[in-house]
């Protein structure tokens, strides 16, 4: 057991997290044409990315809303980023290991008889080496992906990759290699704003997924329904839009879809015709000799499919518990664009509802958003290994979604334990004496030695002014020394430390937890 799950612990939890206030249905998806400022530019960057640097916010604020959305939707060239992490090849099994294993399994180890000691020892030593290799690779992958999220000029590409990772979930739990999970991650990135029907078909043939949801053991003689069930329940339609019979029939259609593992640890899809059930299937009212591709096609012809993805996009980018009417509007948009995500995101991110007061700060930052955003804010590009443990304590481990449902999000991110971890992370960032050098935007205010100026810079840059006058007064009082030494009386090092502490206090304001 390496990972604990941290889900919801709530206090005065409302029944719904739909924002208060009136929903303007006719105007919801029309392009926003209201005032444009840093506050809304930062909102766009938090949702379509991870928050960005203060310079990014300024740059977006200097464009029009529409140009800002275009800049996110049209991914800039990302070839300067490392395309993949440095992974170690998996260890090579000693010659004869599997033959010995097969013999042992075939004969069975009778109770009381020692198993073939040499074979078993070799098998265990190999399993240990393979697990350690995979663990090192997964750490490298986490650091690489976080580094990419921080540095990318195409934040929406990484944000969509993260969305698909939490939607079409797979994890190393069942023995999937790091290389296979990396392939899946690259698939999500390639289809970030691509066609989600095509993505679903590729996911259905993806080695990490075939393994995670057991389709590699789904054969004509023994159909395994796991993938067929989750495909409909969690990935595309939702409960109530298919029957148990549809699950059984579609599982038969996916029989024989498996993969071959390559020596470098990657996998290759294999359509094993001999294990495929060639009989006739009746699925969602249609009958034929269907295979997995047919099933995906039929699923995406159901009215529930565009609604399912509409709700997903709205909850991830706009607000939780979206009105059914809004879901229908976005679903219509998805259908009209034949499941192409690019035009859908383009319309959604420039819409009135996206820039409405109701959507503003209406989501809780995920741990990844919190950590990556903090890096971008203070210009810290390097991801320290300790941050991976921090993210785990906050409840989100990349490449390890908690279960096939993915991360619940919203209120599930916050409880006393995760909040303490978030604040202690913020404190660790602020305690770094190099922080004010990395965050060059702090310097001018700091040089002024004016508590009001520093407090305004901090709250404007870090929170877009989403702070009460009383909280600003607290910050000013803290910076002013609370009756002790004023900023102007301190040594430069002590000024720096006090400003860094004030930045920490700003991160401790509730608004900093909200996206």
């Amino acid at each position: 057991m390496r990972y604990h799950r941290i889900v919801a612990a709530q206090t005065t939890a409302p029944i719904s997290y739909r924002p208060a206030g009136a929903f303007d249905a006719p105007a919801a998806l029309l392009p926003y044409a209201g005032p444009w400022n840093r506050r809304l530019a930062a909102h766009l960057l938090r949702r379509a990315g991870f928050g960005g640097s203060p310079a990014d916010v300024d740059r977006f604020a200097s464009m029009s809303a529409s140009a800002a959305v275009d800049a996110l939707i049209r991914f800039p060239d990302t070839s300067a980023l490392p395309a993949r992490p440095q992974l170690e090849d998996p260890p090579v099994p000693p010659a004869g290991l599997y033959r010995g294993l097969m013999r042992q399994n075939a004969q069975g180890v009778a109770p009381g008889m020692a198993a073939d000691q040499t074979t078993t020892d070799a098998r265990r030593a190999f399993a240990m080496a393979r697990n350690q290799n995979r663990r090192r690779n997964l750490i490298a992958m986490q650091q690489w992906w976080l580094g990419r999220m921080i540095a990318t000029p195409a934040p929406l590409q990484e944000k969509m990759t993260l969305l698909w990772h939490g939607h079409f979930t797979s994890s190393p739990e069942k023995g999937t290699t790091a290389q296979e999970l990396l392939m899946q991650n690259q698939l999500f990135r390639e289809y970030a704003l691509g066609n989600v029907r095509d993505l679903t078909l590729h996911v259905s043939q993806d080695p990490a997924m075939l393994r995670y949801l057991d389709n590699n053991v789904n054969v004509q003689a023994h159909p395994n329904e796991n993938y067929a069930r989750e495909l409909m329940e969690l990935f595309t339609l939702g409960i109530g839009n298919y029957t148990e019979q549809d699950i059984r029939e579609s599982a038969r259609a996916f029989t024989g879809w498996t993969f071959r593992r390559n020596p470098d640890g990657t996998g290759s899809f294999v359509d094993n015709r001999r294990q495929h059930d060639d009989g006739s299937k009746t699925f969602l009212g249609q009958t034929g000799n269907f295979n997995g591709a047919d099933i995906v096609d039929i699923i995406f012809r159901q009215p529930a499919a565009p609604r399912w993805f509409a709700k997903k996009l709205l909850s991830f980018f706009v607000y939780m518990d979206p009105e059914p009417q809004l879901v229908d509007q976005v679903a219509a948009l998805i259908r009209k664009n034949d499941f192409e995500m690019k035009p859908v995101l383009s319309a959604l991110l420039r819409s009135n509802v996206f820039f409405s007061d109701r959507a503003y700060r209406a989501l809780v930052k995920s741990p990844v958003e919190f950590v990556v955003g903090t890096h971008q804010l203070f210009g810290i590009s390097e991801v320290a290994p300790v941050e991976l443990a921090t993210l785990r304590a906050m409840g989100q481990v990349l490449f390890y979604p908690p279960n096939v449902k993915g991360w619940d999000g919203g209120a599930a991110w916050v409880n006393s334990a995760t909040i303490l971890t978030r604040e202690n992370f913020a404190n660790a960032v602020a305690q770094n004496p190099k922080m004010t050098q990395a965050a060059s935007w702090i310097a001018p205010a700091m040089r002024s030695m004016d508590p009001h100026g520093v407090a305004k810079t901090l709250t404007d840059t870090m929170l877009q002014g989403d702070v009460s006058p009383a909280s600003v007064a607290q910050l000013v009082a803290y910076l002013g020394g609370r009756g002790q030494a004023e900023l102007s009386q301190l040594s430069p090092e002590n000024v720096d430390e006090r400003v860094r502490n004030a930045a920490y206090l700003t991160m401790a304001m509730p608004a900093y937890q909200l996206a």
């Binding site: 057991m1 604990h4 709530q10 924002p19 265990r124 303490l420 989403d466």
Partner: protein, 406 residues
């Protein structure tokens, strides 16, 4: 403005701190449930044996010949077993625990598991924590108890996880459970160096921000809990005098803190402690003996400490592991992931003895013990007979309580 001015202004923070004693005494004075006199100050301590503890080498079926057939090198010899009856006995490293058993304060529920067992640590732990063998629950079984028990909302310590992260079992819709690894190191790291408290209290109490968010009040409340809890807990338990010598191990420290929290009468009903890792694929004996001996010493010190403060009758301890292990040992003198295993109920309310059937070693399920008692029946027992709450909604079904609790 002077410091005191800020303190007075920061109502949300200070008012509650000033009133803690009242709140806690209210918690303790809460009316007992019908039929369960004194249940209002009862505590449940759950100890999680993480990694899958081998039940067969914990409660040893030395009277079943098959046991030695399956365990030629790691089986525990009949003469070494601390006998309970002619069939089963305890691993010899559990000697201090055997004393508790002989004193009548340990119930051993044999063969506990659930249908269609999952062999993944991750998933099986999730099943035990959520009490949901099928599908996914967003709350834990203890969390649902907290939701349904209507404990005083103001009390920050209705339940405490002695852990660095919150276990899924304690995830609740209404109660924010603090996870306290140890008093040292718990809380805001910044507070040790700079006086930020006033500022924090202001931030979390001030609702006049220029935006609306469906999450703002909740996030502010949890931040307030986190900051205040971290600040208050060490003070509230500071007066406690430990009356036993605990092993200098993580479990010893955790149970010492548990006794301290119980003894400080904070109104805590549920404590959760981790112990492990028991994942003994290779040379099991060394690891399991160390962990079981540690458990026996720590639990024995725990009840001694509790008794010295008159709290032993208030505290029921339940152990569990996500699964037992495969019956045949493997070639590395270890065991692989298995299924059913025993659960211990210790202390307050316990009617000592063996409960449930020991799984039949002649009827293995692909090398695994078939469960004889559903884990939700054990949970139902604890909920109904100790905590005094109806169990059906919490465990998702009707399970009749065992007679292991009076």
């Amino acid at each position: 403005m002077k410091r005191s001015g800020f303190l007075l202004g920061a109502l949300s923070g200070l008012a509650v701190v000033a009133n803690t004693e009242t709140i806690f005494s209210q918690a303790l004075a809460q009316a007992p449930l019908p039929g369960l006199p004194g249940s209002s100050d009862r505590v449940l301590v759950v100890i999680n044996f993480q990694g899958g503890n081998d039940g067969l080498n914990t409660v040893v079926p030395f009277g079943m010949q098959d046991y030695y057939r399956y365990r030629p090198s790691i089986g525990i010899a009949p003469n070494d077993v601390l006998r309970i009856d002619d069939t089963v006995g305890l691993n010899p490293v559990l000697a201090p625990f055997k004393k508790l058993y002989d004193g009548g304060s340990v119930a051993i529920v044999q063969g506990v598991g659930y249908p269609d067992p999952d062999h993944s640590h991750f998933r099986s732990t999730e099943i035990w924590q959520t009490a949901q063998p099928k599908g996914y629950e967003s709350t834990g079984w203890l969390g649902r108890y907290l939701d349904e028990a209507q404990l005083p909302k103001q009390n920050l310590f209705n339940a405490v996880a002695i852990s660095n992260v919150l276990p899924e079992a304690l995830i609740s819709k209404t109660t924010d459970v603090p996870a306290v690894d140890a008093l040292r190191g718990y809380g805001l790291q910044s507070d040790k160096r700079s006086g930020n408290r006033e500022a924090f209290h202001e931030f979390v109490s001030d609702k006049t921000v220029p935006f609306r968010s469906p999450f703002l009040a909740q996030v502010a409340e949890i931040e307030d809990h986190a900051q205040r809890g971290a600040e208050e807990l060490p003070k509230l338990v500071a007066g406690y005098k430990q009356q036993a010598t605990y092993p200098a191990t993580p479990l010893g420290r955790s149970l010492a803190l548990a006794a301290q929290i119980v003894g400080s009468k904070l109104g805590t009903r549920v404590l959760y402690v981790q112990h492990g890792s028991f994942d003994t694929h290779v040379t099991q004996k060394a690891t399991q003996d160390r962990l079981l001996a540690d458990f026996a010493n720590a639990i024995s010190a725990f009840y001694q400490d509790l008794a010295a403060h008159g709290n032993d009758k208030r505290v029921l301890t339940m152990t569990f592991s996500e699964f037992g292990r495969r019956v045949p040992e493997n070639a590395s003198r270890g065991t692989d992931h298995g299924e059913a295993a025993p659960v211990f109920l210790i202390g307050g309310g316990v009617k000592g003895g063996l409960y449930g059937q020991h799984p039949d070693l002649n009827r293995l399920n692909a090398g695994n013990l078939a469960f004889t008692t559903d884990f939700r029946q054990v949970y139902a027992t604890v909920l109904e007979r100790w905590l005094g709450r109806p169990s059906a909604a919490i465990v998702g079904g009707t399970f009749s309580p065992l007679t292991a609790l009076t």
